[in-house]
């Protein structure tokens, strides 16, 4: 009987909603990562303003890497819908 219930539940489940939650979680992770990079980059720039150009460039590249992780989440949610 429990099996039937699980099956019924599975049929009733809207995968889109789960996908949205997944994308949101991925966004949280990405947000934390980007925030840390941004904070560290700002601190480094404040300490060494003459290195600003280099720091900005590498910060953007690193953010792109982190962002990709969050975007994987988005893509997976696209896959689920």
């Amino acid at each position: 009987m429990s099996l039937a219930l699980v099956q019924a539940a599975a049929e009733a489940v809207d995968y889109g909603a789960f996908a949205a939650i997944g994308a949101g979680l991925a966004a949280i992770g990405g947000g934390i990562g980007v925030g840390k990079i941004g904070g560290a980059a700002m601190e480094a720039m404040a300490r060494q303003p003459e290195m600003q150009g280099k720091l900005q460039g590498s910060a953007i590249v690193l953010i792109a890497f982190i962002e990709a992780v969050a975007l994987f989440g988005v893509v997976v949610s696209f896959l689920a819908t």
Partner: protein
């Protein structure tokens, strides 16, 4: 799911477009542009190094000038000094020479004066002697004009001798 399934049509078109772009731009845009940029950068680099060289040369030249100026100044200084020394020497030489000459002239003058004096004295002496002889002659002539007087004289003289 649809969204993440690539379509063959678009893949083919994209490949085609990208390859055409790569080929055409590579040949007609990137090559000339990059070449021009590189050439310009090279020429700028060359110009900069040339300017640097020129600056160095200028500096060398300036140093040279300075050196030459210094040398010239030193030379002038030494020439002046030499000239001054020469002048002093000439002056002193002249002085010396003049002194010697003067001495010589004075001596000569003195000698002349002396000889003149001697001559004069001798002349005077002879004249005096002549005169005295003349006078004496005249006197004697006068005194011995008559016999009495001659006798008197002889007597006087004899008297004098007697006294001696």
């Amino acid at each position: 799911m649809d969204l993440v399934t690539p379509e063959w049509g678009l893949i083919i078109w994209t490949s085609l477009a990208f390859l055409i772009l790569l080929f055409v731009l590579g040949k007609f845009a990137w090559k000339p542009i990059l070449k021009a940029v590189n050439d310009r950068e090279d020429s700028i680099k060359n110009a900069l190094s040339e300017a640097e060289n020129a600056r160095k040369e200028m500096q060398d030249l300036q140093a040279d000038n300075e050196r030459i100026l210094k040398e010239a100044r030193a030379e002038r200084e030494s020439m002046l000094k030499e000239a001054r020394e020469l002048k002093d020497k000439i002056v002193s030489d002249a002085k010396e020479q003049a002194g010697l000459e003067a001495d010589k002239m004075i001596k000569q003058a003195q000698a002349t004066i002396e000889s003149e004096k001697k001559a004069a004295v001798a002349d005077i002496k002879s004249q005096v002697a002549d005169l005295s002889v003349d006078i004496a002659e005249k006197v004697i002539k006068e005194q011995l004009a008559n016999k009495d007087k001659q006798l008197k004289l002889v007597k006087d003289m004899l008297g004098d001798i007697k006294l001696n």
